[in-house]
């Protein structure tokens, strides 16, 4: 039975950033580490063990799958990973969740100005 996106959120911070990085294009391990490091400005530096455990789990949940290497790197023996359709949906659902949380914060702060 295919899993519902909502069963898989909230996402662990690591998983969220991996999916976000893969949203743009398929990446290999090193590329993922660098993309995430740059997006979080050094805040999240993944080490090999955690990265691949997360990839394995995301693969088991069908959010991520192995992909063929892109054209410019077609001879390399690196393994590339791409986000799946389900993965895209989960990412969107998570973004929606965060958006509603952020809106709640803004609304509450606006209603009670003295709390700033």
């Amino acid at each position: 039975m295919p899993t519902e996106p909502h069963d898989l959120i909230p996402l662990h911070q690591r998983d969220f950033h991996i999916l976000l990085a893969l949203l743009e294009a398929p990446l290999h391990g090193y590329g993922l580490v660098k993309a995430i490091e740059s997006r979080t400005e050094g805040g999240l530096r993944l080490d090999p063990a955690n990265l691949y455990r997360a990839l394995q789990r995301l693969g088991d949940d069908a959010l991520v799958q192995e992909a063929p290497a892109p054209d410019e790197d077609v001879d390399s023996r690196r393994r590339y990973y791409a986000i799946t359709g389900l993965g895209r949906e989960v990412l969107r659902a998570e973004a929606e969740r965060m958006r509603s949380l952020a809106a709640a914060v803004d609304a509450t702060a606006a209603a009670r100005p003295g709390l700033d």
């Binding site: 909230p10 996402l11 662990h12 391990g29 090193y30 580490v33 080490d47 090999p48 063990a49 955690n50 990265l51 691949y52 455990r53 990839l55 394995q56 789990r57 088991d60 393994r79």
Partner: protein, 884 residues
């Protein structure tokens, strides 16, 4: 080879099989890529940090995945599942609490393990740091391996000096294709005025290419310009960072500032790196100008030179060139270069010394031994404890604890112990550095720059952590949980293994302790011999200092010195005052060639002797009575007959048969002919391990000198009068710097500072090793008594006497100690051969050491075994038999 990547690959084994097989290779590749990147950007330390972090996280991922597998929940619970996190956190906290409780229950074990490991960690980390700093001095030179140090040697006159003459230096750099540049420096002391106190600084004059050859960059300002090396244009100064900080307020500008050096205004044009102070070249530098005091005099070999090898050249090529050039120079300039050879050695060797490698290898060996002994001890204790906890562990297993849980318990305990040991080890390192600085007493400037090498600390920490881990886990993992209890008992298979391993380790410990003790013993006896060398004078209650008279013409210096001397002599507590141009032990006297009236000036008789300028008070102060004739007296004034007094070595060498009194001698080319009026006993100078050199004393009044050392014999402790002496000098001249005021006792210690420091360390290690191995013997024998209570009970019940039981128990201990001592003795013999070159006053087979040490260890080892043996004899057979 143990590269970080191979370690990472090996540790993949902790991962669950699925993760490992699917992504293992990728993980290793990614790890290698990231490590290289971090290392390239951040250096070795950053690389280590990354590696440690990645390895730790690997372990946690592995442990975490497996932990999940042991629980009743779903196979791979999501990390965001609140239940998982809660359970994991509770689990970790629970483990910590449990581990702490267990450890607290055996305080003896914890204390011994932590202290043992801390000592080993501290000692290892400090020694490797020290050796690292000493072997690799942090000098601001470019490509130090390309630098060589030329030296001059004259085999006929049996003299060699690590210096060359200026003309020779220019010639050798120009004529050798193997050398691309060269420069030299000439040491001097200068008086700097304008500050709070007149201050005398060590300084150097350097040739045009000196700094360029070394590759030194200034930290502020610039280096000298070529035109500043000309007479008249050389009123510029380069200051060392340390001197700048001492002389000027922080942040005050120094470039372009004018200072007065020896009464002449100079401008500061640059500041040099602090690290240069290690070389002892001094606090400030001035250009060596052409034409000042005949610097081209080929006979003045007073430049400490460095030269840089040309690209691709080797030091051997340079040395060959130098040999060839020496021949040419001997032909072209026979009057100055006859018999003189030029040679070179690497700058590194010139700085660090030829004996250093052996000493450092010894220290690293010694310290590695201590580490091994410590780890062996801890391993033994942990194994014993594992055996004792067999019951507890098997009970938990029977109640359903998975192997993972048992492993985790032991893991956390070991980590806690290791952590504590690591922290304590850092403290030990700090103590050791402080101790070395104290002994060095400012003489060994390198000790001030000791820094803990982070690589070393990390390595030792990991080793210390691994030891209790491995030796605690190994028995637990070896057997299946059900049999744990039975297997770990001393009769069971794993139990017997454990005991055998422990016995072997104790033999090893004893061997290492014996070796260390032998080496330490030899070194100690050698230094003791050095210290008790017959000095020729009484070193007690002797204070000394130097005065250099700048503002007085040299001809008037003797009167001035006499005034100072009289002022000092008036102080209460002063028994005698004497002056000499060099102080015994501190420095060798300058040498000059000796001519004897009536003897042809052939090479055979043209020896060189030490020249000491002395006032009449020197002989009484040092306690040097005349062996023949008289000493220098007041009547030997500037207008009186030129006289000299000679030492016994000179008398024996040059007048073996006849009487030197009344003979006429001359030192060098320009002195007057002097009549020998007396012979005095010899005094040892620097280099205690060489016999006294022939020396000639000339009266200060007849050989005015501007720089003299004062030797003051006091009634009580000389240090008490230090302030009074300085005040006495300043009463006569408030602007006179008083230099290097030290008691003779301190001078002797400083002289041997380096050796004493090494001995101290060796002795420490040996002692620690000794204590640890004795403890090891005790604990093994004690343990075996506990295990064999039943057997002993039976023996006593069937009639064995106390003596038999004692012998039975101690036999095991004796075998281990004897075996270890034999191995240690053999190793000690081998090592002593290596260091025989450095020993003084004792043979490398010194019987006192080689017999004393094994005896001592045997005796103490027997004692250690005897205590539990006595306990065994006190066992009541009835009780023991009933207990089982």
């Amino acid at each position: 080879m143990l590269t970080p990547t191979s370690v990472y690959r090996a540790l993949l084994a902790v991962l669950p099989p699925t993760l490992r097989s699917r992504h293992g290779d990728e993980m290793v590749a990614l790890y290698a890529e990231l490590y290289d990147e971090v290392r390239a950007e951040g250096g070795r330390l950053a690389g280590w940090r990354f590696a440690a972090g990645a390895l730790l996280r690997l372990l946690f991922v592995g442990a975490g995945s497996r932990l999940g597998a042991l629980g009743p929940d779903s196979p791979t619970p999501r990390p965001t599942d609140p239940r998982f996190r809660e359970r994991a956190m509770l689990g970790i906290l629970r483990d910590l609490r449990f581990a702490l409780r267990t450890l607290v229950r055996s305080p003896g074990y914890v204390a011994i393990v932590v202290v043992t490991l801390a000592l080993a960690i501290g000692v290892n980390a400090s020694i490797y740091s020290i050796v690292g700093t000493l072997l690799d001095p942090p000098l601001p030179y470019r490509a130090m391996e390309e630098l060589v140090s030329p030296l001059s040697r004259n085999t006929e006159l049996n003299r060699s000096t690590p210096a060359v003459s200026r003309a020779d230096l220019e010639d050798l750099v120009a004529a050798s294709a193997a050398l691309e540049s060269g420069g030299g420096r000439h040491g001097e002391t200068v008086a700097l005025t304008g500050g709070d106190e007149p201050v005398r600084l060590a300084a150097s004059r350097v040739t045009v290419d000196y700094f360029r050859t070394l590759g030194v960059e200034p930290v502020a300002g610039r280096l000298f310009l070529p035109e500043e090396h000309l007479e008249g244009a050389d009123r510029v100064v380069l200051l060392g960072e340390g001197a700048r900080d001492r002389l000027f307020a922080t942040g005050a500008p120094v470039l372009g500032v004018s200072v007065s050096i020896d009464g002449i205004e100079h401008t500061i044009v640059g500041v040099l790196p602090r690290a240069l102070e290690i070389t002892g070249a001094g606090d400030l530098y001035r250009p060596l100008a052409g034409g000042s005091g005949a610097p081209n005099d080929r006979d003045r070999r007073d430049l400490h030179a460095v030269a840089r090898l040309a690209p691709g050249a080797t030091i051997e090529q340079a040395r060959t060139d130098l040999r060839r050039i020496s021949q040419a120079l001997q032909q072209e300039h026979p009057e100055t270069n006859r018999g003189w050879e030029l040679d070179a050695r690497s700058l590194h060797e010139a700085m660090v010394g030829p004996n250093s490698r052996v000493v450092f290898s010894l220290m690293t060996l010694a310290v590695a031994f201590v580490l091994l002994i410590a780890c062996a001890n801890v391993a033994g204790l942990t194994l014993a404890r594992a055996g004792q906890r067999a019951r507890e562990l098997s009970l938990r297993a029977a109640l359903g604890a998975g192997r993972g849980s048992l492993v985790r318990t032991l893991l956390v305990e070991s980590l806690l112990l290791g952590l504590a040991a690591g922290l304590l080890g850092l403290v030990v390192t700090r103590w050791i550095f402080a101790g070395l600085r104290f002994v060095g007493g400012g003489q060994v400037t390198l000790f001030d720059r000791l820094r803990l090498d982070p690589d070393v600390l990390l390595f030792t920490l990991l080793l210390a952590l691994a030891t209790p881990l491995v030796f605690g886990l190994w028995p637990a993992l070896r057997v299946c949980r059900r049999d744990l209890h039975l297997a770990l008992r001393s009769g069971g298979p794993a139990g017997a293994d454990i005991q055998r391993v422990r016995r072997v380790m104790v033999v090893g410990q004893v061997a290492m302790a014996v070796t260390l003790l032998i080496v330490a013993g030899l070194a100690t006896r050698s230094v003791a011999a050095l210290l008790s060398v017959e000095l020729g004078f009484d070193p007690d209650r002797l204070m000394s200092f130097r005065l250099t008279l700048d503002s007085v013409p040299t001809a008037e210096a003797p009167d001035r010195f006499e005034a100072f001397g009289a002022e000092i002599a008036r102080l209460p507590g002063v028994r005698a005052v004497g002056l000499a141009n060099v102080r015994p032990v501190v420095r060798a006297a300058p040498t000059q060639s000796l001519s004897i009236d009536g003897r042809p000036d052939g090479d055979a008789d043209r020896g060189s002797v030490e020249r000491v300028v002395a006032d009449p008070g020197l002989f009484a102060t040092l306690g040097l009575p005349a062996l023949r004739g008289r000493v220098i007296e007041q009547r030997d004034g500037a207008d009186d007959l030129p006289v000299a007094v000679i030492g016994r070595a000179a008398a024996d060498r040059y007048w073996p048969e006849g009487d030197p009194i009344g003979e006429r001698i001359r030192l060098g080319e320009r002195d007057a002919w002097r009549t020998v009026v007396g012979v005095v006993a010899d005094v040892r100078n620097a280099d205690a391990d060489r016999p006294p050199e022939p020396r000639v004393y000339v009266p200060l009044a007849q050989a005015p000198t501007s720089a003299m050392a004062f030797l003051v014999r006091t009634e009580g402790a000389p240090a008490d009068l230090a302030d009074a002496m300085r005040a006495a000098i300043w009463r006569l001249d408030p602007r006179q710097p008083v230099d290097d005021m030290r008691t003779m006792a301190r001078i002797r210690i400083d002289d041997l500072a380096g050796d004493l420091a090494i001995i101290g360390l060796l002795a420490c290690f040996a002692l620690v090793a000794f204590v640890l191995s004795v403890a090891g013997v005790y604990s093994i024998v004690s343990y075996s008594v506990t295990q064999r209570t039943r057997e002993i009970g039976i023996r006593m019940a069937v009639g064995a006497r106390a003596g038999d039981v004692r012998r039975l128990v101690t036999r095991q201990g004796v075998r281990m100690v004897a075996g270890g001592a034999a191995i240690g003795l053999a190793a000690g013999l081998l090592l002593s051969r290596l260091i025989s070159g450095m020993l003084y006053g004792i043979s490398s087979l010194d019987p006192v050491t080689f017999v004393g040490v094994p005896m001592a260890l045997l005796a103490v080892g027997l004692l250690a075994a005897a205590v539990p043996a006595r306990r065994a004899t006190r066992l009541d057979p009835a009780l023991t038999l009933r207990a089982e």
